[in-house]
Structure formats: C-alpha cells, structure tokens
Amino acid sequence: MITSTSHAYRYSETSEILREIRVLVVDDDYLTTASLEMFLSPYIPNLLCLNSPLNASYYLENHHVDLLITDYWMNDLTGVELIKIAKKYNPDICTILLTVEDRLPVAEIVNLGVDRYLKKPAMGTKLLEAIEYAVHRILLKKILIDKQKKEIELMKYKEKYNEYHQKEAYKKQVNILKDDLKDATFLKKFEVGDNIYYFKSFYKPREILSGDCYSIRLIDDRRVFIYLIDTMGKGFSSSITSINSAAILNYLISKYTTRISFPIINKTIKKFLDFIKTILLDEEIVCALFIEIDFRDQKILYSNFSMPPMFLVIDKKLTIIKPNNTPINKNTNDFKIDIIKIDNLEKVFLVSDGIIEAKDRENKIYYHKLIQSIPKTKYMKNFLKKLNDELEEIPDDVTAIFINKVSFDGYFKKTFTINSTLKDINRFIKIFCDRLNRSKRFKNISNKVGVVLSELLLNAHEHGNLGITTDIKDSEIHEESYYEKFIAKLEKTVNKSIKLTIVISLTKKQIYITIEDEGKGFDRTSIETGYYSKYGLDIVNHLTDEFFFNFAGNQCFVLFDLKGKSLVSEAIPLELKTNN
C-alpha cells in the first residue's frame, strides 16, 4: 500500500507498479495539469499531461496507456466521452475522473466502470489513494500473471522431471535386458565361403516400462540362449514382473562361467520358476519362450509357455513350432523341453504377441499375412518396413528377433590391405568408387558404397586400430581438435592395417564387403550413446541391405542387394590399386 505523510512515500508493490505503467493526465486547465505533473512525476516516471482532450484521444488511439486521469468538464470532449474512447482502445485501462461539478451522470459513470471519482482540487494523500485503488487491477493482473508464470515453470519442471525419470527407467530396463548379439554373429571371425548366422532384434515397448522383455546370450562359441517374456496385463505391475524375470534370468545365465557341455535350458527354467513363483500374484500369468540353439550340433532345444509359435525356415519351407507348455503361474512345476533338428536352417523368427494380434489396414488379423511373408523376407529391414506399411497400428509392446543365414561366397573375390591412416583410407575409397562409377551396373550405388566404406573404414581405424572410445571422440570433436591434433598424433604411434574383402555373387546378385581391423573390438552399444559420433552406424544401416559385426566387434559385414540388375557382363574393378 502507498502511504503518504506530507507526501512522504513508502515503497510497496504499488509503487513498483507505478514505475512500470504509462499514465495520461488530461485537463484543459493548464494550472491543474502543471500542478498534477509536479506532484505525480516523482512517483510516475512515465507520465504525460495533455490539455487537449482531442490530442488525448489521438494519443490513446496510438499508444498503450494503463491509467487515465481526466477532468470531467473540458472543451471538445467531456471526461466521460474521453474514457469511452480510451476503453475502446484498451478495455482494461484504469480511470480516475476529476471534477468540480457535483451533478454528474452517475449511472453512466458507474456503467462505464470508472475506477475512482475525485473532487478537484485533487492532490496529496487522497489522489495517491485513488491512484492506488485504480491500479489495483493492474497489480492483481500482474500477481496473476506472475503466479501463472510460476505454475507454468513448475509444470515444465515437473514434466522435465517425469521425462527424465522415464528415460532413466527405460535405460535401466534396456540395461537389464542383455543382447550379446545385437547386429552381430556369434562367430569370432568369418571368411569367404562361410555360412554365417547373425542376429537382429527389434524391441519397441508401447509404454516406457514394458511387459515384454528379451535377451540374447552367448553361452560359448557355438551355443546361444534366447528368451522372450510377455507378462500378463499392462503398466507398472506387468513391467515389475517382466524386469524381475529378465534380471533373474540374466543373473542365472551369467553364472555359467565355465564351459559346460550339457544344455543349460533345463536348469535355467527350473531356477527361474522357483524364483518367479515367489513374486507372482494368485491370478497372474507369464508367457515365456526359452530356446537354446546349438549351431555345431544343429539343434534347437525349446520350451514355449504360450508365447506365439516359433517360425523356422528350413530348405525355404516354413515350419511353425507351436507352444509346448501352458503359461507360467504360481502353481507351475513341470514343463516340457523339445528338440528340433535344424540341418539347413535358413531363418528363425521369434515375435511377441504384439505383432501376432495386430490388425492390417483392412482390419484383419496380421498373423496370416505374417506367416505368408516370413519365407520371402530376406532381411530384418524388409520385415520392419512391411510391418510399417501393412499395419494400421501396433497395439501392444513389440519384440522381434530375426536369426538369418548368409552364405558369403561369389565369383569375384578380392582382399585389400589398407594402411590405417586417414590419407590411405581416403585414397582407397576414392580409387574404389571411381572404378565403380565407371561401371554401368555399379554406377548407381557407387556413392552409397563409398559412404558406407568411409563409415566402416574410419570406424575400424578410429575405434578399432587407434582404440578411441566414443566419449573421447565426442569430446575432441567438441574442442575441434579431433582430426588434426588427436588423430594425427595417434597415427604417428600406431602402425596397423585394415583388411577389406569384397565378394560379388552373380547368382544372388549381391555384393558383400567385410572389413577387419587389428583392434580388440569395441563396445557397439557405446557408439549409440555418442553425441556427435552416433550417426555412422545408422547411416550404414540405412544405406545397406544388411549389416552386422562379429562377436568382438573387430570385423564387420555389409551386403548390398542388386536384385533386378544384370551383373554378368559387367566389368568389375579387378585391378584395384591402392597406395599399398
């Protein structure tokens, strides 16, 4: 509140408001405006006094005014008429009417919403109190806006807080799920002529915390253990069961430290059941698929507790392996494990019910289309594209695992050894792609091959041979010292090379490229968390038809499918020369 004793003035919220607002005083009496200006200007820096109500009306039309103090009786316009004009341009304007006249149109003044009426001469405490009363609406509005701003800030903070915790929860969930073979084969190394099984996975929870979970674990150099779990219900309850299931299973699998020759599936399921039954509610059920693949003995051991069937393509024919157990509940004790021989296994598709139950754009269950398309699906990319094109909406969590075989052989095979330096890598790519570019058949893909080679050779050079971690790379890029200072210095101390093999299959119309460095391998998942450097593998994934690493991460494989293009008479870059 403003208090005035002999015009002494105590600062308050109102005084702060007066320093911010624009005030117009209008009176055709020069003495009145002069004395009002003298009295008010110490409190109101943005004060304008006018003697002509017509000028005042022009001013009101063109400027924002917060408070109008006007005399009632003036030439040309009355104070009431001026207030009407003012309200037309700013309905929220605060107004004080001054007059010596007792007979005023009270009803009109009240209806007009005049804030205060003062008898002249208006000066001192009375005037300041009237002003304080008049501007209380501005004060209230300011308080309201401040409050709204604070609430918005709080909401933004809460939103950010929740978003942060949801992201953290998702990271934790993904950390609990273990995918040892993400975009990888279990092989330590592969050569031309090998049949390579490699793994692709797709995991998309509908909510941050999902009822679906999966893991792909490498037991030894020939056996892979996979589980997919779908817990009943939605939301936190089912995700708690799901996360606990994944955590205990991965703990149990990690305990098989010594190389055991017998299958682990039976022991793992028994121990899992012992644990999960202690946390399941009376009516809660868990669907689960456990499979152990032995690639040397060519067999799959499986136990399927009401998950969707396994889809196997053997000799180009689809085999559907249905569940052999009922869902897991508090009373589950016994279970069955079956064995399938997998000679000539080409593909394995494992999916959760999200895909099985989804409806296509004609509102029909997608399952029938799915089983028709599986034998024809060459790569995980095609499968995901098909899902995207054909499904109206995926109603539930989706987990899909695709195990595929590629026979890595062809009529043209050549291996190049490239010095592990930026200059030699660059030179190699330039020569290689210039040769592709001169060939009619390969011209169309020469640049994409070039970009892919650039990504993979630099990956082999930087993360493999030079051993640079993603964190260090990001930090050096940020400081603009990555190539000229950091890499240049490392290149002087490291003398390694990169082996690149290109194979072209005319019958399959495919180009295969493998790149092998001399490093120990690298953590593929750490690349995904890089800030500046995470895009390389996404670019490779996008530009190639298939792409995977060996288990350690020091050898990679890319495939370009040239279906529809005749390669028979085409000149292949047989005499590729590099600096080496």
Partner: protein
C-alpha cells in the same frame, strides 16, 4: 599438415552465407573441404549459413557431427537444402530435419 589427403569428389562454391556443394559427398577429404569452407564463413561473422547439396545422395557422419557441433556449440543457424530425395530421406531417418532446417529446395 593435411592428414586427409586431397582426393575429394566434390567442388564447392561460397557466396556470402551460402555454400553450394557439387558432386557426391563420400569421404573424409570431402568432410575436410566442407568444414574448411564453413569455418571460414563463421570467421567472416556469418551466423546463418545455408548449405546446398546439389547432387549428393548421402553424407558422412563426420559431416553430420561437424554440423551438429556448429549448431549446438557455436550457435550457428544451419539451413540444409538436400536436392536429392535420398539425401533428404537420410536426414529424415537420422532425425535431423528440424535441427538443420532441411528442405528439398531453395
């Protein structure tokens, strides 16, 4: 010392805040050339830079990393014109349309 080599595939032309890239962006020397030109533009006080890829159907991650650094750390406004459909799709798949204000035409 040039550690990248000089085997570039591209040609660039610079006019004020506009850089045009002709040819297929492919290797690390292309990155080095583009970076050199953009750093020069920034040192000439251009805060809004338009990069036109006239033909290229892809870019390398080193270029993307550099452009991200320029946008995020140096606070330079980057506007990419990807005239080739495949290049536009690549930016779209990588989730970079908004950050680099990627358009298909000038």
């Amino acid at each position: 010392m040039n550690i990248f080599g000089k085997d570039t595939n591209i040609e660039v032309s610079v006019s004020n805040n506009l850089i045009r890239i002709y040819g297929q962006v492919q290797n690390i020397a292309d990155y080095a050339l583009i970076r050199e030109k953009i750093v020069e533009m920034i040192s000439n006080n251009f805060r809004d830079i338009k990069i036109v890829f006239e033909e290229s159907n892809a870019v390398t991650s080193s270029i993307i990393g550099f452009l991200l650094k320029v946008t995020q750390k140096d606070k330079i406004n980057i506007h990419v014109v990807a005239k080739n459909e495949d290049l536009y799709l690549l930016f779209e798949i990588l989730g970079l349309i908004d950050i680099f204000k990627v358009t298909k035409s000038e």
